[in-house]
Symmetry: C2
Subunit: 514 residues, 2 copies
């Protein structure tokens, strides 16, 4: 058994059976091992940020890690931005990065780079295997590191000789460290705060609080105490729609976030972090909550929020309650697209159990708010602010669900151009992905940010903020990658095309001029 | 004057008048300053690897640095691979990376990343400005660092408050360190070797040896001594065609490289490095030259090769000679494409003073050899092995030459997908870029590498090596980004389309099925 064969066997032993890949020369023995050893589903991405973004989307739905296969430092660099997003989503990913042979590295051949430095800047765990005999053991450690709560990026760098040399030893799965247990003092403290005066208490939910079990417990606490529930802005996955709790997120806009939190004097964090602005702005504070507010940690990101919330509900003697009744499902809106009209239209036609991958950026700020009453679905957001994750996350989520759930990408055009190669993988794997490509033909978020500077953009600025001249034609781009597509200019056209896409297998793209 | 205004003024003072950009929120004050202060040409790329690759191509032709404008750690990561290639091409680039405000960084907002670590792994010079008052001074230092021989990557990280705060101070251009002077011992030593027995001497030329002046001196030495001239494999720019020296490069294939060098007992390096394999292979040596060969350094990469070669020619009393007569220019070949036939066809139709950006990978291994007798042109290669530089380098080269020279991209399909967004910039700037998209619909280089492992790829391997299912349609992809395009299946069709594209302004893409 060579090192590469021990790697494949060990990954499978550790429950990793999906590999998002863009291999190169130094990974050929791993590719050959995948040929020899059945059980790994391999999905090709035509650029590495597609590969890593798919692994992120896969984890968010499957709740177990996939592996990636990347080629040397530059391959890792190409996929780095979506690993950053995955890290901010607390997604577990095992990166396998092939690299120069141990004895070849000192010669600094052209493709030699500081792979470990790149890996270290985005991973919780990094190791470079030193020999074929180590690869199995190292791969098992990588898998355990990735699975360590709440989910981590683990990067295993494999010099090519550690793959091709004989002496590989497959390793068994390592035990994954348990999540730290809940702090009873934190529970008692939160109960004390909530018993005093709940009107000024915000319970800020993060991470896995947005899955159904924790939601129900949070609602039980809020009903018993009158405290306010919000999600933090960055949420990797929110289970929502009818039958789930319609919890708003802290707004992206820092003024709105500050206004939203102004009346609270206590913020109880449940797997969330103290809210800070996405960016700093001149004259505005970094922290979005009032100076006089006290921050209380009920549970941290590596703890089980449903355990903490259950303990708190019991400490409060909060009785079991039904989830609140949902609003009626919105109807299809007709005419010229507006953000609210589009959101209602999407909510109206969304099939049961859909997955929404939201990278709608500026246009979609209200999409979330107007889709609470849609059919039950999961909502995946851009977590780390590195644009270009919407299409890959959608693709990986579809892979995770084996094609059984429709994925809807709400996708801005500027960020779509970062990883448009995802569409090809959607076509190749015949994934049930419907992309609503929101074509405003500008970096609209930046035009808003520019205006915050205090002026309207002049010609030089607009040359960097405007995406027209020439207009992108997303129907042709999608067709060029084997994805069926159509233009829409009205909401009813968009609704018809969405419904049509839901009836057929495989991907579809709707370019909606907004 | 705020920090951003001092930055723009200082860059212009330092002779940097072109900015390849993909800005974000933290760069809006820089964008606003560009609006206020005339003189900087700004060119937008829709993904950062396009931005950095354009800066590389720009330097290779302009021989002076451009700046890039990138957004935070992930923006730098997205452009990292082409900075790696630029580093291997010894291209000077000044990266401006906007980042979180100094006082906001401790809060670890979602888009916070270890920007300095990313920068350090690819840059010769990195600095993070600490206040608005420092920005001008730091920008002048960055420009001088980039211009330091042979050309370097300099990265200036600007926390957003250093841009927007008042107190900016524009700085004058700093003196650029002189290149180290030539070592007379090295010249005497090389002359001694060449006088002894030139049949077993290889003069290996790198870097700027491939510009016309050094070429002529190298030919003078070779004519006087009988020594063999070769270029190293990695060459950022080679001036060639009729009237230039038809020097071959060391082959990419390590067996061929070893064979080529087997008879040499002395290798004189002129701005070149001892030849090593691009990758290691089981049972093959890393070093491609014979163990018994002696390596002699005439000049290093940061020295002026034309000074070293002139000193050597004079030490040898080598008389001035004419360049060798060129072979007749090849004729257009007809029928089904072959690598040799396509190379001859390109040579036949290539206009005077063209620029070739070669990322043809496996199919194009013989393109270089069959185009020596074309009209005079410059040949730009993939230097660092990180695929996806061909189209951006072509785009930046066209910007550098102000549209006065036709740029021909010889572009493989797999690597083209890495940075296809370049086509949009070509259309927006109406650049005279003709892309010959070589569609073999597979990662053919990897299929060859796989077969080196000792077997034919099975279905799992082919799922990661084959780019069909679905086929990419490059005419639609180009059209989708505003670039006129056509399919060709024969060499005469390709020749006709090339000639047609040379007569018109702006870009054109030919998808050639090979």
């Amino acid at each position: 058994m060579n090192g590469a064969e021990s790697l494949v066997t060990t990954l499978l032993e550790s429950g990793i059976d999906t590999c998002f890949a863009n291999p190169g020369t130094s990974e050929m023995h791993f590719v050959a091992a995948l040929d020899q050893i059945p059980g790994m589903r391999c999905v090709l991405g035509l650029q590495e940020n597609v590969v890593t973004g798919m692994a992120d989307g896969y984890f968010r739905m499957a709740r177990k890690p996939a592996s990636t296969l990347l080629h040397c430092g530059p391959g890792l660099a190409n996929g780095w931005a979506n690993l950053h997003n995955a890290r901010r989503a607390n997604s577990a990913v095992v990166n396998i990065v092939g690299d120069q042979a141990t004895y070849h590295r000192p010669y600094d051949a052209p493709l030699t780079a500081d792979t470990a430095a790149l890996a270290g800047a985005v991973s919780a765990w990094v190791r470079t295997s030193q020999s074929a005999a180590d690869v199995g053991r190292d791969a098992a450690a990588a898998a355990a590191a990735a699975r360590t709560a709440p989910g981590q990026i683990a990067t295993l760098i494999l010099p090519s000789d550690t793959s091709w040399d004989a002496g590989g030893v497959a390793a068994r799965a390592l035990p994954v460290p348990s999540a730290p247990s809940i702090d009873t003092f934190a529970v008692d403290n939160a109960a004390r705060i909530l018993r005093q005066n709940s009107n000024d208490v915000l319970i800020l939910l993060g991470g896995e609080c947005a899955l159904p079990e924790a939601q129900a417990l949070a609602w039980r606490i809020a009903t018993a105490t009158g405290a306010t529930l919000k999600y933090e802005y960055v949420m990797g996955r929110v289970s929502r729609g009818r039958g789930r709790l319609p919890i708003e997120r802290v707004p992206y806009n820092t003024d709105q976030a500050i206004t939203m939190m102004a009346s609270f004097r206590h913020i109880i964090l449940v797997n969330a972090r103290p809210p800070v602005g996405f960016f700093a702005y001149p004259g505005k504070p970094s922290l979005q909550y009032p100076r006089e507010a006290q921050i209380h940690h009920l549970s941290r990101i590596d703890q089980h929020p449903e355990v903490a919330l259950l303990a708190l509900a019991e400490a409060l003697n909060a009785p079991a309650v039904d989830m609140p009744p949902s609003e009626p499902c919105p109807q299809i809106v007709t005419g010229t697209p507006t953000p609210e009209g589009l959101a209602q239209t999407i909510a109206a036609v969304m099939p049961e159990n859909a997955i929404v991958s939201d990278e709608s950026i500026s246009y979609g700020r209200s999409f979330y708010r107007f889709t609470h009453a849609a059919a039950p679905h999961d909502w995946l957001s851009l977590t780390g602010g590195a644009i270009g994750d919407g299409l890959p996350v959608a693709t990986g989520a579809a892979v995770a669900c084996g094609g059984s759930r429709r994925v809807i990408s709400l996708q801005a055009d500027g960020s779509a151009m970062y990883s448009l190669q995802s569409l090809w993988t959607q076509a190749r794997e015949r994934l049930p992905c419907t992309t609503i490509l929101l074509a405003n033909r500008k970096y609209n978020i930046l035009i808003g940010e520019y205006e915050n500077v205090g002026a309207l953009p002049g010609p030089t600025a607009m040359s960097m903020l405007d995406l027209s001249n020439p207009d992108l034609d997303w129907v042709r781009l999608a067709n060029g990658m084997g994805v069926e597509a159509a233009h829409a200019t009205t909401l009813e056209q968009c609704a018809d095309l969405m419904k049509q896409s839901f009836r057929q297998d495989g991907p579809f793209l709707i370019e909606l001029l907004i």
